[in-house]
Amino acid sequence: MILKKEFIHIFRDKITLFLVLAMPIALVLLFGFTISSEIRNAKISVLDQANDTQSKQLCKKLSASGYFQIVSYPGSEQEADSDFKLKNIKLALVIPPHFEESLSREHIATLQVINDVSDLNVASILNNYVRAVVHDFENDYNSTADMAQNFTINIKMLYNPTSNSVYMFVPGIITLIMILVTALMTSITLAREKETGTMRMLLITPVSKIHIIIGKVIPYMIISFLSTIIILVISVLVFKMPINGSIPFLLFLCIIFMLTSASFGMLISSVSTSQLDAMMITMMGLFLPTVLLSGFLFPLNSMPLFFQLLANIFPAKWFILAIKDVMIKGSGFMDIWRYMLVLFLMAVVFIAFSIRQLDKRN
C-alpha cells in the first residue's frame, strides 16, 4: 500500500514526472563532446613477430617514453586480442616479421596498432603518442643508416571501428540519469516524509521498516529503469550505438546499479533532515563527484593518485567500467562479476546503515 501511495505521489506531481522522463532524452541529445587529457603509463602489449635488434630497440623506446608500459609480449594476434579483456591493455602494437631486414632492404615497414576504442579519448591520444615515438625511432635510425627510411604505420581499430564518441558518453549518460533519478528521488521522498512528520506516523503503525523502505524505493527504481530503456533505445536508433553483450544481462546490471543508487539515496536521506538538505547533499556529495570522478568526462588514469583512490568509493566508477565492457566489448558475467560484487556490497552496507539511522532518528 505504501507502494501504491508512492505512485499516486509521483503521478500527482506532474512537473517531477515530466522532468524525470524528459531529462534523459535532453541529456543524451545534448552531450556530444569529450575532453582530452594526458595519459601516462598506459598498459600495452607488443606482438613482436620479428624479434630482432631493431624491433627490440623500438620496444625500448616505447617503454622509455613514459607513455607506455609493456605488460606482455603475446605470441599471436588472438592472444593479443584476449589481452584487451584479461590484462586490460589499451593498445597492442604488431611488429611484422623480418622488421630489420625490410628496413634495410626495402626501406619501408608496416606497423600495426590495435586500439581499444571503447574509450575514444584515450585511444586517439595513445595513437598520437605511438606516432611520436615511431617518428623518434625513425630519426634515430636514419642518423645511423646512410639512407633515409620510410615507415608506414597502419592503425586498426578494435571494438569501436567507427571511432564514434557516442560510445564514450552513452554509458556515462545512463549512469548520470540513473543516479539522478534513483538517488535524488529516493533521498528527497524519504526526507519529505521526515520533514512533514508522516514518517513518524508510518513508524508508529505495525508496518515494518523494511516494508516502508521497499514501498518507497521501488517506484523510483521502476521509473529509472524506464529512463534507462529510453536512453538505450535513443542511443541505438539515433547514434547507432552497438550493444554487443546480452541485453537481459545489461538490464540486470542496470538493476544492480539502481539498487546501489537507491541505497545511496537512502543513506543521504538518513543523515538529512529536510528535502532541501537531501537535495544539496545529493548534488554536491554524489552527483558532482560522479561527473568528475567516474571516468566519464575525465580519464581516471591521468588524475593524481588521491583522486584515483577517491573515485573508488563512488558507485558510478564501477558501473561505468562494467557497462562499457558489456555494451562495447560484449563481456559477460564472468568478465565483470567483480564490479557487480562491489556495487552489490555497497548497496548492502548503505541499506543496513540507513535502517539503523531510521531507528535512531525517530
Binding site: 505504501i2 501511495k5 499516486i8 505521489h9 512533514t196 508522516t198 513508524l203 508508529i204 505495525p206
Partner: protein, 239 residues
C-alpha cells in the same frame, strides 16, 4: 482494568535523563492529560509507550502488552496523532484514510464502510475526494484524529492535537475526544492549553523528566489552593 501501567519508566540519552523514573496508571476509557513545558520529557515518554523507543530502565504495559517485548502488538492496538499535521497533502481525504486503514489490515469492504461512517460523523462526506492540501487546518486535525481511530485502537496518543487551531474547532475536537472515550478508548493527550487540561479526567505535570504532580484537576487546584489549572501550572513552575 488499567490500559496504561508505567513502572519506573526511564530514558537516558548519554548523560541527559529525558524521562526520570515515572510511574502512573491510566484506566480504560479515561482521558489523561500530560502537561509540562517544552522539553519536560512528554514526547519521549509517549515514544516509549508507543513502542518507538526502548526505555533505558523500567517498563510499561500498554493495552496489556509489555513495551519491552511486545512492541509489534502494541502498535496494532494504539492510535497516534501528532502536533504537526501528519496526513499526506497530495492524497485525497479518502486515499489517506484508505492508506492507514490498509496498513492496519482492515478488510477492504469494511474499511470503506468505516471511512464513510467516520466522514459522515465529521460532516465531511462531500470532501472525501478532495486533496487534503486544500482543506482548512481545523478540519485536517479532525480528519487526522478520525484516521488515528479508524482501526478501533484501545489507546490513542494525542501529541498537542489542537495547537494552532481556533477555539471553535478546539471545542469540536474535544467533543470528538469525549465521544471516543465514552466508547471505552483510553486517551492520553499532551497540551499547552490549560483550559483544555480542565476537560481531562486526570492530569499530570512533568518537569525535568519527572512526574511532579498527578490527580484530577479539582484535586490539584485544591492542593495548590487556586481556582484554575492555569494557576496550578504557573504556581508549580514558579515554585
Amino acid at each position: 482494568m488499567y490500559s496504561i501501567v508505567a513502572d519506573q519508566l526511564t530514558k537516558q540519552f548519554g548523560t541527559f535523563t529525558a524521562v526520570d523514573h515515572i510511574s502512573f496508571q491510566v484506566k480504560r476509557g479515561e482521558i489523561f492529560g500530560f502537561l509540562g513545558a517544552n522539553g519536560a520529557g512528554k514526547t519521549t515518554a509517549i515514544k516509549m509507550m508507543s513502542g518507538l523507543l526502548l526505555p533505558t530502565s523500567g517498563t510499561a504495559t500498554i493495552a496489556g502488552y509489555d513495551i519491552l517485548t511486545q512492541s509489534k502488538l502494541i502498535k496494532k492496538h494504539i492510535g497516534y496523532m501528532s502536533q504537526r499535521f501528519s496526513l499526506y497533502n497530495d492524497l485525497t481525504v479518502f486515499e489517506n484514510m484508505q492508506l492507514f486503514g490498509t496498513i492496519y489490515k482492515i478488510p477492504r469492504k469494511e474499511l470503506k464502510d468505516r471511512i464513510y461512517e467516520s466522514l459522515r460523523s465529521l460532516d465531511m462526506e462531500k470532501q472525501s475526494g478532495t486533496l487534503v492540501s486544500s482543506i482548512p487546518l481545523g478540519w485536517k486535525q479532525k480528519l487526522a484524529f478520525a484516521t488515528a481511530i479508524l482501526h478501533h485502537p484501545d489507546i490513542v496518543f494525542l501529541d498537542e492535537p489542537t495547537s494552532g487551531v481556533d477555539p471553535i474547532v478546539r471545542r469540536e475536537f474535544w467533543k470528538l475526544i469525549y465521544q471516543t472515550a465514552s466508547q471505552g478508548v483510553t486517551i492520553l493527550v499532551t497540551t499547552h492549553y490549560m483550559d483544555e487540561a480542565e476537560y481531562c479526567n486526570r492530569i499530570s505535570i512533568m518537569s525535568d523528566g519527572q512526574m511532579k504532580l498527578i490527580g484530577t484537576p479539582s484535586e490539584l487546584k485544591e492542593q495548590m489552593g487556586v481556582n484554575s489549572v492555569d494557576e496550578v501550572f504557573v504556581k508549580f513552575v514558579n515554585r
